[in-house]
Symmetry: C2
Subunit: 112 residues, 2 copies
């Protein structure tokens, strides 16, 4: 599934990563790859704009720092971001369960 489409669930994933502690963009990418066991190996051009989007939306805040000559932008989950994460977890659950029901086949109870 490498380099595949995240299709609208990227925000959820990013918020979930940052929820476990502030991280800079590059570290978010690594963590996402690590946690998903290589399923999500996202290009920078996907993640960085998404982080900007989330900050603009007020879900993340960022601050610059310099570590060994390299500048980093570290993101922290805001309060709004935290509640957004909660909602998005919820809707992911509903979504994935709904897909499960569709894939399972006919919805009628057993008619023996």
């Amino acid at each position: 599934m490498r380099g595949q489409a995240l299709k609208g669930h990227l925000d959820l994933l990013l918020l979930a990563i940052v929820a476990d502690g502030p991280k800079h963009g590059y570290a978010v990418i690594e963590e996402l790859r690590l946690r998903s066991e290589d399923a999500f190996d996202l290009p920078e051009g996907t993640v960085y704009p998404a982080l900007h989007r989330l900050e603009k939306a007020g879900y993340l805040s960022s601050s610059w720092s310099e570590v060994q000559g390299r500048r980093r932008r570290t993101y922290t989950l805001t309060k709004r971001g935290s509640s957004a994460l909660g909602e998005q977890r919820q809707s992911w659950n509903e979504f994935s369960q709904a897909v499960g029901r569709v894939l399972k086949g006919v919805p009628w109870p057993n008619t023996p």
Copy 2:
């Protein structure tokens, strides 16, 4: 979740519906709403073009008929569509499990 984004998993859902027997577009929409318990209530502008896409891709074949004065285009899953469905089921499973792992938090084993 009504009127929400399906984001790339629509093909899978449509193939799964038609896999349970040939159906015309309108019936696909109803069946999808039924099976998902109202989670997926898709506009025609979403479903019809998707069915056309799937037919063009060789996953569905269609034939016209007339039932009580109304013309219907009925879609049937092709062999290629059937194997595509198999693959897409698989990749849905991997995808949803990967999301699950990310949402669950840190991937390391318990360190007591």
